[in-house]
């Protein structure tokens, strides 16, 4: 047996880390997956290579996040390893050692936004974003697409790339009206400088394999073809599974394998998935085999009854109309963009962010400069009920002279009398500056 595509794996189950003793994000989450992967002999297959994860550094984290009060305070060792495991896979893929890779790591990251006051949705830091920005910095990668197939809306990743026209973020998830975090609707399409590079595909509960593959064929693959990314990342959450205890979807291991086969991501990163006995062992084996180009037709759950979980016609027609809506909305993006360019120089949005895992409420006011040349400098005024008040300024990777200058000016003006900390993420020079009270 031989892999058609050379595939790297980082397998880091973190058997000694849990959010709390009975929390779904606990020690044995990947135990049965490890048993299945080991028992199948997958790591012996020619062309499958297992890598030991490196540790991410605070510098990697600060390239993406404003951590309050600092990186050390919001991360545990496990987060450094989980983000480091993604870096390891990126190094293997971009360094040419393998064709594609899968970071089977925990804890996950796709609910972590740019500002981090604590953990939300079991995530502290966004491991995909850290990996992507590391890859851009180290390997000069420019255009990246992230396809988030976790059952929950990838609101953290969306937040981080909301203003970035070079990062296409596509999330398909159970409809936000029925599941945490309650966002991810078709009209959320990106900031004024990046309209159309955020795409949200809410799916009705009980969507099965057929629905997911329909969305892949009708929407995702054509959009990817149009965007022409250099790197495709799959946030491979597995909680769409019919046996998942905290969601209401009807996906199966065969469906995940097929979806992976169609998408052919360069890098898959494990996100959620809490049916640790009935789903994860089979779904992960399916994904690994599909990535490597090995026959996955034998992969199925012991209790798999395709007829029982197949979505109804109502689900199918709802999905069809969502796809149509999205295609229409996409066509309006150019016009909307033109309106922004004619309008105010600065666009503001305010929101309240709830950190469910750590029970923190954050009030945020974000200002972006509408820019013809670059992704636009961003300023975030963030106050959390922990008492911390942050001013975070973000100068994008390909920031123009004006935006760079404005970013520096905002940073200098930010008063440590008013804010506990003022941070400047200067991605042009890859620098991070902090002023503290």
């Amino acid at each position: 047996m031989k892999a058609k595509r050379k595939t790297g794996l980082v397998f880091f189950p973190a058997f000694d880390w849990a959010i709390s003793e009975t929390h779904p994000e606990r020690e044995e989450r990947l135990l049965y997956t490890q048993d299945q992967v080991f028992e199948e002999g997958i790591l012996d297959i020619e062309g499958l290579v297992e890598f030991k994860p490196v540790l991410a550094t605070p510098k990697d984290v600060e390239r993406v996040h404003f951590c309050v009060p600092d990186v050390e305070a919001v991360l545990t060792e496990s987060h450094y390893i989980s983000a480091g495991g993604c870096k390891t896979i990126a190094d293997a893929v971009l360094g040419g050692k393998v064709d594609c890779g899968f970071a089977l790591v925990r804890p996950p990251g796709h609910h972590a936004m740019r500002v981090v006051h604590g953990a939300r949705g079991f995530c502290n830091i966004n491991i995909e974003a850290i990996m992507i920005e590391y890859s851009r910095q180290t390997y000069g990668v420019d255009r990246v697409a992230i396809v988030d197939t976790d059952c929950h809306h990838g609101d953290g990743t969306q937040n981080i790339y909301w203003h970035d026209p070079d990062t296409l973020f596509i999330s398909l998830h159970q409809d936000g009206r029925t599941l945490y975090p309650g966002s991810g609707f078709p009209r959320e399409m990106g900031g004024p400088n990046a309209l159309g590079t955020t795409i949200n595909i809410p799916l009705p509960p009980r969507t099965s394999k057929e629905g997911f593959l329909q969305v892949m064929d009708k929407l995702i693959l054509p959009i990817l073809e149009e965007f022409q990314p250099e790197l495709i990342i799959n946030s491979a959450g597995q909680d769409n599974h019919y046996s998942d205890p905290i969601t209401a979807m009807n996906m199966c291991a065969q469906g995940y394998a097929k979806l992976t086969d169609k998408l052919r991501p360069h890098i898959a990163v494990l996100e959620g998935g809490y049916s640790i006995e009935g789903a994860l062992p089979y779904v992960n084996v399916g994904i690994i085999l599909a990535l490597a180009g090995i026959d996955y037709s034998w992969v199925r759950e012991p209790d798999y009854q395709p007829a029982e979980i197949r979505q109804g016609d109502d689900v199918e027609s709802l999905i069809s109309s969502t796809c149509e809506d999205l295609l229409n909305l996409r066509q309006q993006c150019a016009l909307k963009r033109e309106k922004y360019l004619q309008g105010e120089e600065f666009v503001q949005r305010s929101k309240t962010i709830f950190y469910d895992t750590d029970s923190i409420i954050e009030e945020q006011k974000e200002t972006v400069r509408v820019c013809r040349q670059c992704a636009g400098v961003v300023k975030i005024d963030s106050y959390a009920d922990t008492g911390y008040h942050l001013l975070g300024i973000y100068v994008p990777r390909k920031g123009c002279g004006t935006c760079q200058e404005l970013g520096r000016q905002w940073f200098e003006e930010g008063s440590v009398k008013r804010f506990d900390l003022v941070c400047l993420q200067e991605r042009v020079a890859d620098e991070y500056h902090v002023k503290r009270k």
């Binding site: 047996m1 980082v10 397998f11 880091f12 189950p13 973190a14 058997f15 000694d16 880390w17 003793e21 009975t22 606990r26 020690e27 044995e28 135990l31 049965y32 490890q34 048993d35 299945q36 080991f38 028992e39 199948e40 002999g41 997958i42 012996d44 297992e50 890598f51 030991k52 994860p53 540790l55 060792e77 496990s78 390893i81 205890p245 006995e277 062992p281 089979y282 084996v285 085999l289 090995i294 026959d295 037709s297 034998w298 992969v299 199925r300 759950e301 012991p302």
Partner: protein, 556 residues
């Protein structure tokens, strides 16, 4: 007195030890076509005129199983494989009689699909009429629940000479390797049984009435009677013999590298805390990955007889061997010739060696001596590169807990122990080039036979407990018992060590040599809904490879 015999590709070495003293050592040529004669003559020569009753132990390391596998001189095997869902089992096909069958066990050990009895019996009939006499029966996750393998055995065993069951070859997870290991065992178990019975017969003729012990690839021994089932464990015991022979000279407080520099290859092993490192899962054999416990050795094509020539004006050594050294009548220059030309090694036809080196020297426009030095340096640096690569691989081995990743031990060898033909001559150069201490043990040329003589019995057990279902089990040992719902890891460890002790004694170990250690001990809460319903506990323990008690703590 104890006797160690190691059959190598070229030589067979025998030693007789009395206490620390070597009473006798015999080196004879190996007759690959007639291994039985080689072994019996070896024992006969070594024990001639010795009082048979004074011989307390005989350990043999042979190439029998290895050669049979490598040369394809194996018996046909019928292999039935119950895979259930997962990787397509046709991808693991092995041998000429491979049958995927229905029946499945899941990762928790639950039977999720039964055996189809009629299907099994039908395959049995087919194999019977094809003249297949050996069976291997394997199911996925049989180390969690062997019931499918046992049912297949009950249906078929009467019609076959030997039956190898997957869950008995190892307690480790890896279906693909379990298939290969069971297959290879079934393929050599018949010839091994015949061979070792004949060796026993030779010993008895000389009045030696003690059980024969056989060396395994992990550097441990097992009694012959217990080993007929597990013939495959004796493959590649040769490198293990040499490593065990150096153990008495190792410094148990340091990390050291063992180099066995032979004619064709150099074998490399790593000693940590006075014991050799083992491969994480098992040895690779005849093109198959297996679950056969083995020392972590690496073999590279650099030895005293390696072919030396110029490529693009640079000296290249090995990996091929064209024959013996020029100095000993061979066809091409070798590192041995370089040592002879330099006058470091005496004997042989020095002039022939010099001539050979001169031909290379002239093409490079250099002197004979300088060229000979270059050859020796190149050989040593190939060896040292391979050592570094091995050490790096060991340090890069994946781990699965934060603790191991952050606190993981980094191996950093502080010295070399070198054995084999050119050991003495290369030692000073290796020392100069590596900057590490290099030691050559006395009697280094029969270290392999000494290793066989003094290696202790080793074995491994895996014990699993599921406190929500209230049982503890070790399928490999046919062990299953009730356990309290509040049982802890400590209790499971106690059970594992007890099973390990019994197993080791059964395999021929001495009570004094039971140096046991835990290889793995994990404990997980099993949560249903948001409540902890029990614990999943996994313990794996081994008797460490090492030396029998009188030979421990010899040198250093």
């Amino acid at each position: 007195m104890i006797v160690g015999l190691d059959v190598g590709g070229t030589h067979t070495d025998v030693v007789v030890l009395k206490g620390r003293e070597i009473v006798r050592k015999v080196k004879q040529l190996t007759d690959e076509e007639n291994l039985l004669e080689t072994v019996c003559f070896g024992i006969f020569d070594a024990t001639r005129n010795l009082e048979p009753l004074s011989i307390q132990r005989v350990v043999v390391s042979t190439t029998l199983a290895t050669n049979a596998i490598v040369q394809g001189k194996i018996e046909p095997v019928g292999i039935l494989v119950a895979s259930g869902p997962g990787v397509n089992p046709n991808g693991f096909a092995i041998g000429e009689h491979y049958y995927p069958v229905s029946g499945a066990i899941d990762h928790r050990g639950g039977e999720i699909a039964p055996i189809d009895e009629e299907e099994i019996l039908e395959i049995g009939r087919k194999l019977g009429s094809a003249g297949v006499r050996n069976l291997a029966l394997v199911s996925k996750f049989s180390v969690r629940n062997p019931s499918l393998e046992l049912k297949m055995r009950d249906l078929l065993e009467n019609n076959f000479n030997t039956v190898t069951l997957g869950h008995q070859v190892s307690g480790q997870l890896n279906f693909a390797r379990r298939i290969a290991t069971a297959y290879l065992n079934a393929a050599v178990v018949g010839i091994s049984r015949t061979f070792y019975r004949a060796v026993r017969g030779c010993m008895e003729q000389q009045g030696i009435q003690i059980p024969l012990e056989i060396l395994k690839a992990d550097g441990g021994t097992m009694a012959l009677d217990s080993s007929a089932q597990y013939a495959v464990e004796t493959v590649l015991s040769g490198p293990a013999a040499s490593v065990m022979g150096t153990l008495a000279f190792a410094d148990p407080t340091r990390e050291e590298v063992v180099l066995d520099i032979g004619g064709t290859t150099t074998d490399i092993a790593i000693l940590v805390d006075g014991a050799p490192l083992l491969k994480p899962l098992g040895i690779r054999m005849g093109g198959y990955n297996t679950l056969v416990r083995a020392l972590r050795t690496v073999s590279i094509g650099v030895g005293g007889d390696s072919w030396v020539r110029l490529e693009n004006g640079h000296v290249r050594v090995g990996p091929e061997r064209k024959g013996r050294a020029l100095a000993y009548g061979g066809p091409e220059p070798t590192p041995t010739d370089a040592l002879v030309a330099l006058g470091v090694v005496g004997g042989g036809q020095k002039q022939r060696a010099i001539e050979g080196i001169r031909r290379l020297a002239e093409q490079m426009g250099k002197g004979v001596e300088e060229t000979a030095e270059t050859i020796v340096t190149e050989s040593c640096s190939l060896i040292l590169e391979a050592v570094n690569a091995l050490v790096n691989r060991v340090n890069q081995q994946p781990v699965y807990t934060i603790h191991e990743l952050l606190e993981g031990r980094i191996i950093k060898p502080s010295g070399f122990i070198v054995i084999g033909g050119p050991a003495k001559e290369l030692a000073p150069r290796l020392e100069a080039m590596s900057g590490l201490q290099v030691r050559v043990p006395p009697e280094y040329e029969v270290a392999n036979a000494i290793g066989a003589a003094v290696a202790r019995t080793t074995c491994e057990v895996t014990v699993l407990a599921d406190t929500s279902r209230r049982y503890v089990y070790a399928p490999e040992e046919n062990y299953m018992d009730r356990i309290d719902r509040r049982a802890t890891k400590r209790e499971v460890i106690r059970i594992a060590l007890d099973l390990l002790r019994k197993k080791a004694l059964r395999l021929g170990a001495d009570e004094d040599d039971l140096e046991m250690e835990l290889l793995e001990d994990q404990e997980f809460n099993m949560v249903q809904g948001f409540y902890t319903v029990g614990r999943n506990i996994r313990v794996r323990a081994q008797v460490k490879p090492g030396l029998i008690s009188p030979y421990r703590e010899v040198a250093a």
